[in-house]
Symmetry: C2
Subunit: 143 residues, 2 copies
DNA sequence: CACTTCAAGTTGTACTATACAACCAGAACT
DNA sequence: AGTTCTGGTTGTATAGTACAACTTGAAGTG
């Protein structure tokens, strides 16, 4: 396999993966779509942030984020706190329930990945992870 | 980084990739969604196949495939030929236009990937491609 | 200060991809 | 001939998304 073939293969395989990910994520966790999961994860990681930040970070329209957040709030996984310094801003925080669901889904996803990767030598796992990080890192956007 | 960390990282990065792929694919090629692209690609590779095969291969509902194919036919990228041996079956084939569009989108996707991977040493590309194939191959479905 | 402009979010509307269920038509197997 | 299986379409519903119009608060400018 030369470089060109490798690039084509990477393209094909990443695409193949992406095609399935959302659907299977939905099937695995009907209570938390891939998007919701990602947003909750971001909130946990940042310990709260604004809707606008989520939109910018994930290249989503602000209306999309608004509705996602509304749903998460209805489900009591997220709460909004109006920023006292700027009353336009709502800082989003995980609720206790949100934190729990997130942990639970993360764990079950982790288990699924681990099962799939069970027979890989550690060396390969580490290298694969490194490649993925490197592949994703330049980018805000492109595929 | 140990194996556990690597698994978590792989999970995170694959998910991050999946989250963006469809949207950016759509933006790059408004004329051919990621799904349509994938289906056309499959038709080219197999030199024609049945709608049911597509559904099975991509874990899509047959109604979904039916509508996708209908759209592709409306766009004159695909044509149906009733199987003379079994009148229930329609064998799908790329049209000339379909072949052209597919080639064009493939090329532009390839260029985007290649740009992104431009500064990778060939050795890493080959290994990365290998990992992806290996990761995707067991599966019909997960993660 | 009054006026304009900017930024954060929400709501209305529309579209796409998708699934599930009900159905139809041809084939296969008693 | 009658039942069951298979390939495909259509009806209906849902999720996720974008874009445009609007509201409200903040910031800058005369």
């Amino acid at each position: 396999m030369d470089a060109i073939e490798a690039v084509e293969s990477i393209q094909r395989e990443m695409t193949a993966f992406a095609r399935r990910a959302r659907a299977s994520a939905g099937r695995m966790h009907p209570e938390l779509s891939l998007v919701s999961y990602t947003l909750l994860g971001h909130l946990e990681e940042r310990d709260g942030c604004r809707a606008t930040d989520l939109a910018a970070h994930y290249a989503l329209d602000k209306s999309t984020v608004s509705r996602q957040v509304a749903a998460l709030e209805r489900a009591a996984l997220v709460e909004r706190r109006v920023d006292p310094d700027d009353h336009r801003v709502q800082v989003l925080h995980l609720t206790e329930a949100g934190r729990e669901i997130l942990a639970q889904v993360t764990e079950s996803r982790r288990a699924a990945f681990q099962e799939r990767l069970a027979d890989w030598p550690e060396e390969d796992l580490v290298r694969f992870a490194g490649y993925l990080v490197r592949y994703n890192s330049p980018g805000t956007d492109r595929p």
